[in-house]
Symmetry: C2
Subunit: 415 residues, 2 copies
């Protein structure tokens, strides 16, 4: 079959099914989700077998053990996928909420009501659990979804999506979750032009994937870009508290986007605090500006590139700054608009920092690691947006909805 | 000077100035707006002279009298521009509003607060008043703006933007409003790739302009697309009320995006109601399906293209449908997701229509002409979004803001 027709057909079907899922009640959507959980649970042998094939191919390709671990689906992970679905079922339905309701002088009643976005495409890499998580969150919020996973996990993704599709078919709502089964990039390029059918693209993965999607897409994109997060330690600070937060932000899970990459220290406390940092995180490789390197023997000189690099490992770049103003300028220049924190007892400096730093989440006296849908009480997370439009920061179920205006009249006409 | 550098410099300056305008208080922004109004008022002779040049060129190019009228800036229009600014000054400041505030079990306080978007680019055609209106709304909401107007109004736009810039300079906030003075499309193409500096592009104009911008832009776009609006007249209907609403939606101002283009009539009342439509709007050219044409002698056969055409003049396409279900399917297929209305006394049918029609604004027993920022009580309007993300339907000041999370801790770290 001609590839062009296939991709367009997938998009057409998604649009048609999006009207159906939008019209389902919250109870009907929850029943669908529970059926998906059962279906995955029943198909676990088939899913593990498919995953073995992906693992075998990955070993042949010499993928790192970290990559292999991310790829792996075993019984424990299948259990946790199913438990995750059951948790989503318990969350409130995000559609049909009245955001505002006004009565105009002419008697028109204007209600602004949340509705599903429509058709969402998720483009992601390696981790096959994203296949299930994304599908479930899109369905809960009444959207149809087109999934495009990484080539390394194609067999696992096919097995998981078949289990999902079977449950959807039983609920008379076919095509509401569709996996693109070809691994060619051409298919993605075609998909990204189908803005008549698809309402939103969410790319989740490396920088080059996201850049490519942004450049090619005529569909709105919400980027889940890198996290170059900074902490600024002000001069009026409880050192112990600051060190605890720095250690947590950098070391508790260094491979994630809300982990710390840049540390900024106020010059007035630079010497003393630099030496404390040195001792507090001996497991972390330190890179620094001239001044920091003078205080900490083991630190190497940071290059210009270091300041905007998302290490995702135990490396930290450190810079000495004059004060909160320079810290803010640095973050707005080198950061990725993700998560940044100020550690200070000075309220004015904290207020200035929080107002002026142009990032999705700005902290005062807390770890950057809290930027997360669950930690924000959303009960779910489809990702963390580094964009400013529609959704910024952690995206939960509410961020997978849009709104429309329902206007009730009694024959009003415009003068 | 190399064009590439110039456009990038404009964007860089806009980003820098966006931090400054964001930090101004509501009072400071209002003072700036009042100074802009004074500046335009003082410069009126210069502005009118520049406009005369544009009008002269337009006459040489044989532009229609409607186009000439849209282009024209006279004393009355300058007065109304200045009055418009004073009205915007009186509106509430849209930034700094707390959208939600929660305390987490670990004691973190998470506030979701509205902030300016940053740098907004508006690309528009002919009407020079858009230069002032857009600048004023962007500044009120704390954004920097890059304006790119149509070539026909370039001299007027330059004069207006100079008056605006002078007022900004007096307030020590230069580069916050910048007009692209070259009329080459190349400049726009370059601008649309500068997603490191610019946060949002709003194209306002014809279909081809909007399509071009959407295809070229790596910056998020909110489209202000055409309005193919429909009214469905159900069988249980007050005919008089229905005719009044149809006449208003079609005839009160046919050249705008919320005017009526398609009329759908329930088959049970088709004969009687079609003849009433014929009589009620004699000034409107009627096109119809076979059945409507049988009832109304003067109607011509509608082509497939007619159903998705935004006429913007006194033409109406009419189709007879089986009921609300077919009406919804028709609208979701041929409409432009703008504004649609059902006229009925049947509550179930009204509910079905309002839930299922996938448009920004859906009406029950009211004219489609109310889709408008002022009619919705927003006090201002930058346009009407036909997109689903970030802003849908009328866009006022709130829609020119985004949010960020301010998280207040006392040393919290993640487990």
């Amino acid at each position: 079959m001609d590839m062009n027709i296939t991709i367009e057909q997938i998009a057409e079907r998604a649009l048609r099914s999006s009207r159906k899922i939008a019209a389902l009640t919250a109870e009907q959507r929850n029943k669908l989700l529970l059926d998906i959980s059962k279906s995955i649970n029943n198909d676990r042998e088939k899913i593990k077998k498919a995953n073995e094939l992906d693992i075998k191919n990955a070993v042949l390709k010499n993928l790192s053990s970290a990559m292999l671990d991310r790829l792996k689906i075993d019984d424990l992970r299948i259990n946790s996928l199913c438990e995750g679905i059951e948790k989503v079922v318990k969350l409130d339905c995000p559609t049909g909420r009245i955001l505002s309701s006004i009565e105009r002088p002419n008697g028109l009643i204007i209600n602004k009501v949340t509705v599903p976005i429509g058709v969402i495409t998720i483009i992601y890499e390696s981790r096959p659990n994203v296949t299930v998580d994304s599908a479930v969150l899109c369905l809960k919020s009444g959207n149809a979804v087109i999934l495009r996973g990484g080539s390394e996990s194609i067999n696992t993704n096919i097995a998981l999506s078949e289990s999902i599709e079977n449950a959807c078919n039983v609920n008379n709502i076919s095509d509401v979750v569709q996996l693109i089964k070809t691994t060619s990039h051409e298919a993605v390029s075609k998909l990204l032009k189908l803005n008549n059918y698809i309402d939103l693209v969410i790319p989740r993965g490396g920088e080059s994937l996201i850049r490519k999607v942004t450049e090619e897409s005529t569909i709105p994109v919400i980027k889940h870009y890198k996290g170059v997060c900074s902490i600024y330690v002000d001069c009026e600070t409880d050192f112990e508290l600051a060190l605890k937060i720095i250690k947590n932000s950098k070391c508790q899970r260094p491979g994630v986007c809300n982990a710390l990459e840049n540390l900024l220290i106020n010059r007035k406390i630079a010497k003393e605090f630099s030496m404390l940092v040195d001792k507090a995180i001996p497991e972390v490789e330190l890179r620094g500006d001239n001044e920091f390197c003078r205080y900490v023997g083991r630190a190497e000189a940071a290059s210009e590139d270091d300041w905007s690099t998302e290490y995702l490992e135990l490396i930290l770049s450190v810079k000495i700054v004059d004060g909160v103003k320079e810290a803010v300028e640095f973050i707005n220049k080198y950061g990725s608009r993700h998560s940044d924190s100020i550690i200070t007892n000075n309220k004015d400096n904290a207020d200035y920092f929080m107002r002026e730093v142009d990032s999705s989440t700005v902290y005062h006296n807390a770890s950057t690691r809290f930027t997360d849908g669950f930690e924000f009480g959303m009960g779910a997370e489809i990702g963390i947006s580094t964009d400013k439009l529609h959704a910024r920061g952690p995206m939960g179920l509410n961020e997978l909805t849009t709104y429309k205006y329902l206007v009730y009249g009694t024959g009003q006409i415009r003068n």
